[in-house]
């Protein structure tokens, strides 16, 4: 069955994310469910009040990794359309930094896929946020993406 991935959306943007438009984009008559994830800027980090966040990305690689996640979603789950949009630049408290919308004929696949999408994005997509406080700024603790351990060598002569 075709994955219909040409109908998917994977974007990095510098303006507010239009969540309603993305949810509408993934909606189709043959579907019965859409699950969305709205990740937005929290007003504190480790009990310190946050002023704002600044996101940066290795854009070409980030987009490639977002599309890779999409391909995995279509492989693993019976879903229809996917939209994954991450915002970059300065974001104020309460603004959406990442939005994911996934449609599917049935809800279970959409829930599972959406969870997989955000979890994998946070682990593997090269995007970084800097947190600004009253008294300074820090790069947020992140996750080290899994990388190949060592290049496989030609098999040893035996």
């Amino acid at each position: 069955m075709a994955t219909l991935s040409s109908d998917d959306i994977y974007q990095l943007v510098r303006k507010p994310i239009d969540m309603a438009a993305l949810a509408q984009h993934v909606r189709a008559p043959e579907d019965g469910a859409i699950v969305t994830f709205d990740g937005f800027v929290r007003n504190q980090s480790h009990d310190r009040p946050t002023l704002y966040l600044d996101y940066e990305a290795y854009e070409s690689m980030a987009l490639a990794k977002m599309r890779e996640i999409g391909a995995q979603l279509h492989e693993k789950y019976r879903i229809h359309r996917v939209a994954v949009v991450h915002r970059l630049g300065r974001l104020e408290i309460g603004e959406t930094s990442v939005f994911i919308a996934i449609s599917a004929p049935h809800r279970a696949a959409a829930f599972d896929a959406c969870r997989f999408a955000i979890d994998t994005l946070k682990r593997t997509v090269p995007i970084w946020k800097k947190e600004y406080f009253e008294d300074g700024a820090v790069w947020a603790d992140g996750e080290l993406p899994p990388a190949p351990a060592a290049t496989p060598r030609a098999k040893p002569a035996s």
Partner: protein
């Protein structure tokens, strides 16, 4: 910037060297960009070198960077890459701190 840390002799030799100089683009992100003061640099090696050796050149130049070695992953042409990956001319190598998108 010209690195050529190893045998540079063959490079200007009248006898053509077997290996050709390797030019790569190097990208730094997040705190690594702040530590080095570079978002992008170019590096040249006279001989075969790996991503690990490329990092070592910068770690020698920016000692702070060395402390982060265990919390850096490398990519080659937008794919995560092992540290022992050989550099090829034209490669885009990036050093990535732990990611924190979302």
């Amino acid at each position: 910037m010209l690195l050529a840390p190893s045998s540079f002799t063959g490079y200007n030799s009248p006898v053509p060297s077997v290996s050709q100089a390797i030019h790569v683009t190097v990208l730094f992100f997040g705190r690594l960009k702040e530590l080095t003061g570079h978002a992008e640099d170019t590096a040249e090696f006279a001989d075969a070198a790996t991503i690990e050796q490329l990092f070592a050149v910068y770690a020698a130049r920016y000692p702070e960077l060395a402390k982060y070695r265990s919390s850096v992953v490398a990519s080659r042409n937008q794919e995560f890459a092992a540290w022992d990956t050989p550099l090829r001319s034209g490669d885009e190598i990036a050093f990535l701190p732990p990611v924190s998108g979302g």
